[in-house]
């Protein structure tokens, strides 16, 4: 690991500890129906309205694999640059719980559908590669609701049988920031692929976080604790920070760390022991005899491969090569598929004579600020890509100044108005007639002769005063570049 300033270390009495993190991300497959049944998967439906006899494990009911979910998992595997296993096996993970109707979860244990892969993170100090151990398909459980009744627990089986992809990383992550970046990157890739909506509020993306610590430079891994089911990036970061410090404190006190499963209490900002290794379930995994091994052909995989859209890393490279964006700008624009789409539409609508820098600045500056204020996704942007492109072109070809453009932009927000029309209707067109500007400047210099003399004798700060006066006199419409040029000439 590089010894740069971004290295995340925990210091105690001169000892430096490194944090080792691996994630098991549970990503809900974007699919109309469940992994082994035809029930719907829509979020937020009335309890127990999306439950088939298979989902509720009625006697004699049998699972039938949903081919679409298999495709989604393979596509995700391709997006993770991973090996696709042509033969995979569904296993039963046996345990009793009220919201697990079958008494087992159908998952993949020994032979997952996707093997090793990798994900590239764009960190402030450069790129970092994170290894993917595997991706497997499994069923989600139902939901136990404990707080509706003092005596009883209610069970909602709508989620029971929904397809999940469990994406297991290698223990390659070293800081909460990297975890955040990793989750965002995974989410970005899956959203590009349309395989998971990545909506953490609705539980479409959640993770078990494995944390251990070790003295910096040590090759051995420390004993790890698994923090179960954390459902936001912020909580993951908080949980890691708490847990890493807890473990370091134990080591410093000369105590040992128990391998255990822990829960993160978001209210108290602490992790708590859930069960120790000794109490761990014996899941009695064995191949599900109701399902044959899943076999996919090369053609099946290649057909999916050939239809994979451009993914963030490739898009970023293209933005840099083709549009001459900085890596930083490109990273921001590709991180979310809708932002990238918006940007590319702006680019295409700008036509031949385009100013890429200007477009980027407007998207990441003004537009992002508005979206942020109004709490909107870019897909809900009040200003269409087409109109933003027109606005940028108006600046580029000198029709309006950047300053006027901000006024125009404000007016565009109300009903996605055409900036061209706003400029015409409000008479905001920039004055670019040198003669008119010269006349204007002559008048100002005439009215401020003393200041002109002061300027000429070396008080150069006064130049701004003259620019301001000229702008004011033109009602802000004079071309600032022309003002500059003519003023310089006149004041020589």
């Amino acid at each position: 690991m590089s010894k740069n300033s971004a290295e995340y270390l925990i210091n105690r009495k001169g000892n430096q500890y490194e944090v080792v993190i691996g994630l098991e991300v549970h990503a809900q497959v974007l699919s109309e129906s469940k992994l082994f049944s035809t029930s719907a998967t829509k979020f937020g439906a009335e309890p127990n309205t999306q439950v088939s006899l298979v989902d509720a494990a009625f006697p004699g009911m049998l699972p039938v694999i949903n081919e679409f979910c298999v495709k989604q998992a393979i596509k995700t595997g391709i997006g993770l640059n991973a090996k696709i296993n042509k033969r995979s096996v569904f296993d039963r993970k046996n345990y009793f719980y009220a919201d697990l109707p079958q008494g087992y979860q159908i998952s993949q244990f020994k032979d997952p559908i996707v093997g090793e892969g990798k994900v590239i993170l764009d960190m402030p100090d450069g790129q970092k590669e994170v290894g993917i151990e595997r991706l497997h398909l499994e069923q989600d459980a139902g939901k136990s609701i404990h707080d509706l009744d003092p005596q009883n627990t209610f069970v909602d089986l709508n989620r029971s049988g929904v397809a999940l992809m469990e994406i297991v990383s290698k223990p390659d992550l070293r800081s909460p920031e990297e975890v955040s970046s990793y989750i965002k990157k995974l989410r970005s890739i899956m959203r590009y692929l349309g395989t998971c909506d990545g909506n953490m509020q609705e539980g479409s993306l959640r993770a078990d976080v494995n944390v251990s610590v070790r003295v910096r430079g040590s090759k051995e891994f420390g004993t790890r604790c698994e923090i179960k089911n954390v459902n936001s990036i912020k909580f993951m970061q908080m949980a890691i920070e708490y847990e890493a410090n807890r473990q370091v404190d134990l080591i410093e006190e000369g105590k040992s760390i128990d391998q255990e499963t822990r829960l993160f209490d978001t209210k108290k900002n602490e992790t708590r022991s859930m069960r120790s290794k000794e109490d761990a379930h014996d899941y009695r995994y064995f191949p599900d005899p109701d399902l044959l091994p899943l076999e996919v052909s090369d053609k099946f995989i290649n057909d999916l491969k050939n239809n994979i859209p451009e993914l963030p890393d490739d898009k970023k490279k293209r933005f840099i090569d083709e549009f001459k964006l900085s890596p930083y700008e490109a990273t921001i624009l590709v991180s979310d598929i809708d932002t990238a789409k918006y940007f590319e539409e702006v680019v295409s609508k700008m036509g031949k004579n385009k100013d890429m820098k200007l477009a980027v600045n407007w998207i990441t500056g003004e537009l992002f600020a508005v979206l942020n204020n109004k709490n909107l996704e870019i897909s809900q942007s009040p200003v269409s890509a087409k109109n933003l492109a027109i606005l940028v072109n108006l600046i580029k070809n000198g029709t309006i100044s950047g300053k006027i453009a901000k006024t125009v932009f404000e007016l565009m927000l109300d009903g996605d108005k055409d900036p061209q029309k706003i400029v015409e209707e409000k008479g905001l067109k920039q004055q670019s007639d040198p003669k008119a500007i010269e006349a204007l400047i002559d008048k100002i210099i005439n009215n401020n002769r003393e200041k002109a003399i002061e300027y000429k004798s070396g008080k150069e700060k006064l130049f701004g005063f003259f620019v301001g006066q000229a702008m004011k006199a033109s009602g802000g419409k004079a071309n600032p570049q022309l003002i500059n040029e003519i003023l310089k000439k006149k004041l020589q």
Partner: protein, 485 residues
Amino acid sequence: MSDITKQSLTELVENIKNKKLSSTDITKSFIERSEKSKELNAYITDNFTSALDKAKKFDQKPNLDLKLPGIPMAVKDLFCTKDVKTTAGSKILNNFVPTYESTVTENIWNEGAILLGKLNCDEFAMGSSNETSFFGNVQNPIDKNLVPGGSSGGSASALAGQLTPITIGTDTGGSIRQPASFTGTVGLKPTYGSCSRYGIVAFASSLDQAGPMAQNVKDCALLQEVISTYDPKDSTSIDFKRNQYSKELNNNIKGKKIGIPKEYRVDGMPKEIEDLWQKGIQYVKECGAKTIDISLPHTSYALPTYYIVAPAEASSNLARYDGVKYGFRAKGENLIDMYEKTRSEGFGAEVQRRIMIGTYVLSSGYYDAYYLKAQKVRKLIKNDFDEAYKKVDAILTPSTPSSAFKIGEKTDDPVSMYLNDIFTVPVNLAGLPGISIPAGHDSKGYPLGLQIIGKAFDEQNILNIAFAMEEKINFKNKITDWWIE
């Protein structure tokens, strides 16, 4: 017509088609006889009122193009039947009424048959004598206090006792063939994947297979023709070309090569069984077939393998009976307590024993030594058959190592009970079809069966061999109606 219930399925269908009998006549006769046969305890649930209604409806507008036109029949209570209680012989499903129909029974009703009722069986099909049923023992019509075999004991008893003209059972380790053998009837376990498992209460998913039980081979072939369909709702259902088994039934087996496996000559096998086998060899020779001595070297491992694989799958399949969603629920202090009480009170001793065995062999630390090894041995057993079938077309063995035994005789000794399945279990492990046909009687006059094992998907061949042998054997069941009031 008092002798309606004595008629075979083929005769009944013929009589319906040429309008000599109505569905109502037939249905009434079987209901009347069933009602006089309570002592057999073959039924768990009767459907007589509804059956008679349906028969009348059928007669109003008879569709005589169907394969089972207006034919009443009772089925093993392991098949889920829409709106008719389905218990699997267990207290835990004592009150369970499915809202859906199994594919196999659906196929039967689609061909015009009418449900008479649900037949007794060992609890979750775990047993070889029908003594593990929550609903009590079933009597073998052959003799009082004789077990009918199991797990399809109610089916075999009802069939032999003429309470139903035909029936269906399920066979995980011999549950169709052994009771057929014990009751002097014909029972076919089809190739794994031939009949859909959809809607059948699962015991051991990789072994379970539904199959027909009948008075004779032709009836058996007809029923197999009806129940065997490819079903996308069962991922292990196989889409192969199915024969018109009854139409293609043919007693010409000249030149067929029949394997006689030496490993089936087990220690302590009664001489009567050995003699029966020899007689069987004679019969096939008389039919013009050749017999060839073969070896199935891993046969002795079949039973231990079966008693690891089947309980392992069962322990997981039966996890869903937890009192949460349907079926019996005992009151408990909390969730765990409710689970424990529900399952302790809801399952009988044999089921609990197998759940425990299954849980044990799947446990981490034991999985490799038991389950994984058993799967490897299973493969070897399958290979034995594959090797044998390079030389022969079918294999002839006894169906069981003994004739039917007395109720209570083996209940205290599960291992001796398990030994009953010694000749049938390898067939399930290898996923092959096997048919048991009645071939003679022992000194007590109890029926004995012979088993013909075929290649996968080769049901037609073993039905043909059975058909040819049936003619030679000319078996007559000795039934005295001792139980009729």
